[in-house]
Structures are given as structure tokens and as C-alpha cells.
């Protein structure tokens, strides 16, 4: 039985394995200590951080939908300063790649955030959330407009030497255009997808189920859409792509890897099974071993296919 090599490289960031946890579904990481050693993960991405703490949206903030959920948390977070003083020193004791997810309301805020995080000891990368569908501040604007996305990427690129990951919005009018814009402006990697804008109605009360009216759809429901987008983007850019959207099992993770993602993030699954990410990792390793595959890198982009069929 081979013991598969699980290490992957997301640009300059070397990960011990391709399983990360997704922003907003993993708190600040420490909440998972009762469930496993964070050092088991390839990496973790923090809840989205802003310059100042944010209150977030009023409830109801979530509701379940078929094979998915809508959320409109409104980017509640403790702010970058509290993260640096209260969370990061704890987090960096674990041998895993820590990625700070950030968002701003203006280009300047993004830039300031990146500059503030630049020297932070123990940080592996910054992920720009330019795609949160809940709030204008969350970046709908930036992620939807390739030119704005290019500007914000450029500004952040100047502000930090940390690897810069740009997280794409599936709601962008031109996803591939956005991907290329971020690549051109020096993003080290692209991550996708963020949530899809959706809504649900409480028919008895005749009002939206979320106080915010609309919310972001995540979970297995979106996986076929996310796999398709990951495939499109991975073929369109040269920088590494990290895929996500509805990953619940190792098989789901393999779908993303096979269409070209070098690593994946586990999101909503963390809510359903707190140990989801490490269970997926263990099953992925077993799958590779059972198929006598020496390195997970061999499956990346390994899907056979001609070009997109159009009969």
C-alpha cells in the first residue's frame, strides 16, 4: 500500500494537504479545537475581517433550502486588530497555513487591511473577499466589475508581500474576465466560489425568510455550478485555483481537483459535521491509496475531456 503524498503548492504557499476550511464557516479556527487538532488541516481561512469590528445583520440570518442554506450574516466580525491580538497568536501555535480573509468598503480599506496584515507573524496568505453577495461593502461591486477588481487587486498587491488570493464571485457577469483581471494584477491564486445570491419566502407570513431579504446560497445544491466554474477558471488562467462549493465528501473534493483545482475549501459541511474537513482528508488519503496514486498532485486536472461539447 502506498502512502500518498498529500502536499500541494498554491503558488508559493506549500500546504501539507489540499484540504482547507472556508471563510465564514470556521469561525476564527479556535472554535474547532474540541473536535480536532488544527494542525491536521492543509490550511484554514478566517471569517472575513474588516478594519473595524462589524455588528452584522439582524436576525433571521439563515434558513435551510433543498441541499443548501441561505445566509445573510452581514459579515459580523471582530475586526482586524482583535484578530491580530486575540486570535492569531493562538492560531499560529498550530502547524497549518493560516489565511486571513478580508473585505473593505473601499479600495483604500482593502489596501489598508493588506498593509496591516503584511508583517503579521504566522500568516500564510491573504484572501480578498470581493464577492460576498450580502452587502455592498462585502464586495459585490468589486467582484462584479473586472475593472474595479483589477484596481483593488493592484492596490492590495502593492500593500503586502504575503501571497494574495482573490476569491471570485459566482454572481459576476463575466467570471472568466474577472479571473483574468485578478491574474494580470498579480494575484497569486484564485479561490472560488463564494455563495450565489438567492432568496426564500415564508409563505405563511408573506415575507422573506431572511431579514436581509436576499442571502448567499451554499452547500451541496451549488456543487455542480461550482465545479463547472472551477473548471472554466482553471482552464483560463495560469495561476493556481482553489475550488469550493458544497464539498461534503472526499469524492466531492476529487471532483474539484480533477477539473483543475490544486486544493479545496470545505465550507457548509463544517456546520453539519464539525469533523467534516478532517474526515474528508482521511477519506481522500484512503481513496488515493486504494487507487495506488502516489501523489494527490497526479489527480489535479486529470479529468479527461475534449472541449466543452456543443452538439
Amino acid at each position: 500500500m502506498v502512502i500518498p503524498d498529500l502536499t500541494v503548492e498554491v503558488g508559493a504557499v506549500r500546504l501539507k494537504n489540499p484540504i482547507l476550511t472556508a471563510s465564514g464557516t470556521f469561525g476564527y479556527g479556535l472554535e474547532f479545537l474540541p473536535y480536532y487538532d488544527l494542525g491536521e488541516l492543509g490550511g484554514l481561512v478566517t471569517k472575513g475581517l474588516s478594519l473595524r469590528p462589524r455588528l452584522g445583520n439582524p436576525p433571521e440570518r439563515i434558513c435551510e433550502t433543498p441541499a443548501g442554506m441561505l445566509n445573510a450574516i452581514g459579515l459580523q466580525n471582530i475586526g482586524v486588530e482583535a484578530f491580530l491580538t486575540e486570535k492569531l497568536p493562538e492560531l499560529r501555535r498550530y502547524d497549518t497555513a493560516i489565511v486571513a480573509n478580508v473585505f473593505g468598503e473601499t479600495e483604500a480599506e482593502y489596501e489598508t487591511l493588506c498593509r496591516r496584515l503584511d508583517g503579521a507573524p504566522g500568516l500564510a496568505a491573504i484572501e480578498l473577499n470581493v464577492s460576498c453577495p450580502n452587502t455592498e461593502a462585502g464586495g459585490m461591486y468589486f467582484g462584479n466589475d473586472p475593472a474595479a477588481l483589477a484596481r483593488v487587486t493592484r492596490a492590495c498587491r502593492r500593500a503586502t508581500r504575503l501571497p494574495l488570493w482573490v476569491k471570485l464571485s459566482p454572481n459576476a457577469a463575466d467570471l472568466v474576465g474577472a479571473a483574468r483581471a485578478a491574474e494580470e494584477e498579480g494575484a497569486d491564486a484564485l479561490t472560488l466560489v463564494n455563495t450565489f445570491v438567492g432568496m426564500a419566502v415564508d409563505v405563511e407570513r408573506r415575507r422573506p425568510r431572511l431579514a436581509n431579504v436576499t442571502g448567499g446560497l451554499s452547500g451541496p445544491a451549488i456543487r455542480p455550478l461550482a465545479v463547472h466554474m472551477t473548471w472554466q477558471v482553471a482552464r483560463a488562467v495560469r495561476i493556481p485555483v482553489v475550488g469550493m462549493g458544497g464539498i461534503m465528501t472526499a469524492r466531492d473534493a476529487l471532483e474539484f481537483l480533477m477539473v483543475g483545482a490544486v486544493a479545496v475549501q470545505v465550507g457548509t459541511a463544517n456546520f453539519v459535521r464539525p469533523r467534516a474537513a478532517v474526515e474528508i482528508l482521511r477519506d481522500l488519503e484512503a481513496w488515493l491509496a486504494a487507487h495506488a496514486i502516489g501523489s494527490v498532485r497526479e489527480v489535479v486536472g486529470s479529468m479527461e475531456s475534449t472541449d466543452e461539447g456543443q452538439p
Binding site: 465564514g24 464557516t25 470556521f26 469561525g27 472554535e31 474547532f32 474540541p34 473536535y35 471569517k47 455588528l55 452584522g56 439582524p58 436576525p59 433571521e60 440570518r61 439563515i62 434558513c63 435551510e64 433543498p66 441541499a67 443548501g68 442554506m69 445566509n71 450574516i73 459580523q76 452547500g219 451541496p220 457548509t268 463544517n270 456546520f271 453539519v272 459535521r273 464539525p274 469533523r275
Partner: protein, 269 residues
């Protein structure tokens, strides 16, 4: 430290009117749960994605006819998740994460008289609480209300286990006609000094209880409900607005971690 276990359903008793009492095999650690702490429970292979929150209702010893290796939840069928639970037979497996959240505390003063205000299925956390209180020599007064007689699933248990029980129904089909806050208002008016209120039920009831308790300056703990995705503090989906004592600043606190039990005066409803 919460455990995530696959537990075997031992009994799933249909109490009528859509109410069920489920016993499942529990790891020993669950026996030390605080009343009103809860579980996130999922049914494998079912068409719901997220687990659902349920308070611990009975701990070993609470229900005489339950095996000491089990704990109990009391639930009411509302939607898909609870319908799925209701369809389970002994021997079925459920995924159980718990104990979660902060439960009810002990009364602060030894001479305190606990008053339990239970609205319908909101009575779920109280058998475990009453068992604990009696262990500590507190004899609670139970006020138990619902819209109608069928929505009082623990009536017999309270009759057998509460030294004082007041029942209200909105339609007058059992007990006093009215709201459960009517006898509470009476009690508070007569002898607020030594009371300690514990309440669980629909949000409008909790708001009314909180108002009464705050007005009479009686300690009051409410067990809250909120839609929950995770149950352990990471989705931020379950928040309620609260206020720091003496401050006007609103913040959002998580029902699953800072609650489900919160002090009445903390809520900024």
C-alpha cells in the same frame, strides 16, 4: 467538551398531538449536562442538510421508565427535520452533537423558590431542571400554558413531579383560560422577593415573561430559540440582539454559545 456521536434510538414514544419523547443511548458524559443545554441532531441519509437543535429533556433518573444509559428529548413535529425524527424506530441511528450551549443555573440563594414558566413544547428542558432543583432541595412552582390542552405534552409528568402546578390554555380547554403569564403576574405581585424565574417557550411568551420579571426585579433566565446551522458558534446564524448591563450599545450574541439560556435583562428585543 461536546461529543459528536452516532446514537441508537431506544424508544420513540408518540405522546399524541404531534409530540414525541425519544430515548437514545448516550455516552456517559451526557449525564452531566446542564438543563437547557442542547444537542444538534441529524438523521443519516435524510433530505435535510442541517441538524436540528433539541434541549435535553431527561437525564438518567429523570424519567422512571427510561433506561439509565439513555437521555431523552421531547419534540414536536413542525417541518421536515422533526417529521424525520418522528419516523424513526427503535434501533435507528441518529447523529448527536452535544452538550452545547449554556444551561440554566442554580438559584443564587438557598431559600429561593424557582418558578418555571413553560409554553407548550417549551416545557422540554424542565424535567431535567426539576430533577436537579429537587436534588438541591428546591421545590419549584410550575406554570404550564399552551393554546390548547393537546399542546401540554408533559402535563402528567408535571402533575407527578411538581409540588405546585398551574395550567393555562388560551382556549380554556384545560386549566385556567388565558396566558401562562397571567399566573406569573399574580405570583410576582404577591411574593416576588424570593422567586427565581426559568422560562422556555415561544418568543412572544418569553418577551412577556422577561418584561414582568425585569419590572419586578426578579432573577429570570430564558431559554431562547433561533434557527441554527452549526450549534457550536461558527456560523453566526443564531444571534439575538443583547445589551451590556448599563449600556445602550447593541451587539449580537449567539444563542448556541452565549445561550440558549440568557438573563432576561440582557436581551435587547
Amino acid at each position: 467538551m461536546p461529543l459528536d456521536v452516532s446514537a441508537t434510538v431506544v424508544r420513540n414514544l408518540d405522546l399524541g398531538h404531534g409530540n414525541f419523547l425519544m430515548d437514545f443511548e448516550a455516552p456517559e458524559a451526557f449525564a452531566a449536562m446542564q438543563p437547557a443545554q442542547f444537542f444538534m441532531i441529524g438523521v443519516p441519509g435524510a433530505e435535510v442538510l442541517l441538524r436540528r437543535p433539541f434541549s435535553v429533556c431527561g437525564l438518567p433518573g429523570t424519567f422512571e421508565d427510561s433506561a439509565p444509559s439513555t437521555v431523552q428529548i421531547l419534540y414536536r413535529v413542525l417541518g421536515k427535520g422533526t417529521s424525520l425524527l418522528a419516523g424513526l424506530r427503535p434501533g435507528a441511528t441518529v447523529h448527536v452533537l452535544g452538550p452545547l450551549g449554556r444551561g440554566f443555573g442554580a438559584p443564587r440563594r438557598p431559600e429561593a423558590v424557582p418558578v418555571i414558566v413553560a409554553g407548550g413544547i417549551g416545557s422540554a428542558p424542565f424535567p431535567a431542571l426539576i430533577a436537579r432543583l429537587r436534588g438541591g432541595f428546591h421545590e419549584p412552582i410550575v406554570l404550564y400554558g399552551a393554546r390548547t390542552a393537546g399542546e401540554l405534552p408533559l402535563l402528567d409528568w408535571f402533575r407527578a413531579n411538581a409540588s405546585e402546578l398551574w395550567v393555562t390554555t388560551e382556549d380554556g380547554s384545560l386549566g385556567q383560560r388565558g396566558l401562562v403569564t397571567d399566573p406569573l403576574a399574580e405570583l410576582l405581585a404577591r411574593r416576588a422577593a424570593r422567586l427565581h424565574v426559568y422560562a422556555c417557550g415561544p418568543t412572544p411568551m418569553l418577551k412577556a415573561v422577561a418584561r414582568l420579571a425585569v419590572r419586578h426585579e426578579v432573577p429570570c433566565e430564558l431559554s431562547l430559540e433561533a434557527p441554527m446551522a452549526c450549534g457550536f458558534g461558527v456560523c453566526l446564524g443564531c444571534v439575538v440582539p443583547t445589551r451590556e448591563p448599563g449600556s445602550d450599545r447593541i451587539r449580537y450574541e449567539r444563542v448556541c454559545v452565549e445561550g440558549p439560556v440568557m438573563a432576561a435583562e440582557r436581551l435587547a428585543w
